[in-house]
Every structure is written in structure tokens, then in C-alpha cells.
Amino acid sequence: MGAGRDERVFVRAAQRGSASGIEALFRLHWPQAHRAAYLVVHDAAAAEDIAQEAFLAAVRNLDRFDRGRPFGPWLHRIVVNRAIDWTRARQLRGEAELVEAVAAPEPGSLDDSLLGALAALPPDHRAVIVLRHLLEYTPGEIAQLLGVPRGTVNSRLRRGLDSLKESV
């Protein structure tokens, strides 16, 4: 049985109220959803929240979900768009805080050179890199997921990869 068929079986089971169905969907998709969020936001707690919120949205909308369509892209669209929004919001906030900032920020693991290079990219460039090279969507699919023209996806991919090559 293929992965796509597995997924449809899990969605159908979850729609019928099966806990094992939703658990199978969660176990199948959590790792990549969480990782995609982390690679965009570079903050483990925020990535956890974003992936969790995406799954809660899935639970809320399960009854309306069309079983004929794949679950993964729908989930990834939520994850990546929320991750971009979160990153932009953090940049706008500047994370300036008085004593609230006294507590040490999460150290993270930016020692990894690829992760550090990704962090230097704008969030929407990170997103297309993650969608293309982690989740393996085509540029056309990424354009649909992000709601941007395909040419924009291609240019972000090219610029993002050029920056990564220089940094890594």
C-alpha cells in the first residue's frame, strides 16, 4: 500500500472518530512539519507551537477535509505560512525587552553551518528552500502553497541557493 493510500486511510479513519487514525496522521506528518517550521523560524519553541497549531487546525477542520486531496500539502501550507508570519513579526518586534530579556534566550543550535546560513536568508526565501529541498515540492506546487507566482519561487530559490553556497 502506497504512502498516499495510507494517508487516505488514516484521514478516513480519523474522520470516523478513530484515535489511531489521527495518531497515524500525526506520527506520519509531525516530523517534517516540525522540522519545516524550525528551519524557517530557527526557534524550537516557536516551531513546536506552529506545528502544533497546524495539527489543531487539522483536527478542527477534519470533517470538512476532502479525502480526495493529499493531507501533507494542506498541512505544510499552514506550517510554512505561519512560520513566515512568525519570523516577520519577530523581526518587526526587534525582540527588545527590558528585564523580560534578562533571562537568557534559548541558545538554539546555530552552530550548524547550514542552519546558520539559512538563518541569514529572508524568511520567504527560507520557506521556498525548505519546501523545495526538505519537503520536495516542485516550484509549481510551492507557488500554489505560498500563493505567489512561479517565477517568484524560482528567483527566491536561485537567490537562496546562491547565498547558501557562499555561506556553507
Partner: protein, 380 residues
Amino acid sequence: MKRELDRIEIPDEHDARERSWAIVSAAFAEREPQPRRRSWKPAVAIAVALVVVAGLLSPPGMAVLDELRQAVALESESAAVVTLPSRGRVLVAAEGGTWIVKPDGSRRRLGVYTSATWSPRGIFVAVSSPAGLTALDPQGNVRWSLPRKRVIWPRWAPSGFRIAYLADGRLRVVVGDGTGDRLLAANAGPNAPAWEPAINVHVLAYADRAGRIHVVDTDSGQQRWRSDPGDLNVQLEWSSDGTRLLALGAQNLRIFQGNGVLLRTIPTGGGPASVSFRRNGHSFAFARRVAGGRSEVVVLPAERTGGARSIFRGAGAFGEIAWSPDGKWVLVPWASADQWVFVRLGRPPRIVTESEITRYFSPAAPGGVFPTLSGWCCAG
């Protein structure tokens, strides 16, 4: 490239997955699955009939129907996931633990604590427990902890640099990073203190055991003013500009100017009551008991005069109310109906309800105590 991206280590990856699975599975367990592609009209008719019958038979349901007759727009009533109609995050202290709830219903359990409060921008939470005072990040990770006896009602100063709290019946102040803890007042009454909103000074209001309100600069120790004695159990609430202070007791609500001049005294009528200032201006919401075993929420100005506008009434008791950060909604915890009622001001008011709040926050303690609202903080 994919192999490299897959190899990047995510801190706390395993625990994050299991924490999230616990929340997702709980949300799934609480949802009502709906059959697909079947005749839906009979099911809807039955559901409506059941709701009506349940409403007619149960006292909380009767109360709900009673409120419906007041011609407001009731928008939803769902226990699967408690969502917020506005931005910000709500901090809830329940028997089953202290929770942070986001607008979309995602929530995080911080642990079991006796009281909790947001830091000014919602980046941290200060909590109390029998072991002492603790500062957490919103993920529940402990940033620092201060062992003290019988800690309760921590309150984080708007500057972020101070936290006031009661320990063993005494009012203490500690620096926001957990250092410099010291006694401020040994005669504090059993009430939460309240910081004046200014961020360049640390001015605290508290009530003593005679019901006097003290307003003190906690850094210099200088007392700015002190009121006459009044009610012993007092909720203190500053307006956002620091020019009004409400002192709500069992018998009276006193409205002070920021300099201590008493503007007005309003009888509460006895029974549980609470107040909450709107984010900007001098309007505040006031929940109080009224005749016939009912409660109401009114909005009125913190001035010498000015009428009260009723925005919601219901049977039984209301808990501590709170304005949304954008000042558009008032959250009324309705203990007697086990609901949160969100009232958006307007004519007529718009109302959204969330039901079965006790079970939602304390699933392992059915029939437990209605949760306490500890703050609705900070957009974003």
C-alpha cells in the same frame, strides 16, 4: 541538500512531539465527529431538539436560554476547543494545571500552580506554588525560582524589572530576574497588589489588614498616599494612564484619582464582584451580583459621575472578568453556567460563548472547581 536538512538537530525534538501529541489527541478526543455525505437534516433536527430539551431541563441551560431572550447574537457554543474571539493569550489557573490559551484554541499546560500572572509583554509567566515563586517562559520552562513559604498573587511590574507577591502573609518585591528579594510590608492584607502602569517608576498599590489602600514607591520606600480604612478583601486595578485606581471590596467599589483623591464610592450589593479597566481611557467593566440571585456586567466611567451600561446578565455568579488586549471584548467567566462568555460592546452586544470550561481545563477532575482567569495578555 535534503539529507543535510534532515540531519539538522532540533532542540527538544522528541519531547516537543510528545507534548504536542498530548494536546492534539486531547483536542481530537473532545471533538464531535460528524458523519459525511449522509442526510444531515434529521441529525441537525435531533441535535437542535436535544439542545433545546437540555436547555429547558438544566439550570445553567435555562440561564443560557434566558440570556438568549435578551436578543443578542449568540454565535457559537462549543467545548471541543476553547477559542478566543480576539488576539492575545489567556492565562488560566485550573485544578488540572495552569494553562496558556491562544486565540485558535491551541494551549499549553505549564504545570500545577496556585496563582499566575503575565509579564508585561507576555514573554514570561510568574507562578506561585507551595514551594515558592517561579518565573517560567510560555513553554513552561523554569527561568528562575525563589523558595518562599505560602507564596500567592505574584504581579509583574509594567517595566518588567520588579515582581510583587505575598509570602506567608507579607508583601515582598523581587527584581525581575529573581534577585534582590526584600520585604515591602508586613501588614499587607490578603489581596493581590497592583502596579501603577508607568514603566519608569515602580509604584505599587496594596491594601493593608485594615482595608487601607497604600500607594508606595517600592524603590525609595516613600509612601505617596494612603486611604482611610475600608473593605478588607480588595481587588485593586489601575487605569492604563495611572490616573485612576479602583479598589473593589465586598461592600463598596471606591474610585480614586492617581493622587489618592476619592472620586466616588459605589455599593457592590455584596457577593462576588470584579473589575477590569479597558486598555485605553477610564471606562471599566464591573461584574456584580444583582437581585434574584443573578449577576450582571456593566461598563461605566471611572469619574465622579456617569451612568452604568449593562452589557450582560446571567443567573448565579461570575468570576474575574477581563478585557481583551484590543479593548473590544470583555471575557465574563460564568461559573454557574460553566461557560466563558465573550461580550463585544455594541448595540446590541455581540456574544460568543465557550462551554464546559471546567472539564476542558481539568479533564481528570470532573465536577471540579471552575477555573480562575489570570489575565488576557498581549496581542500576538
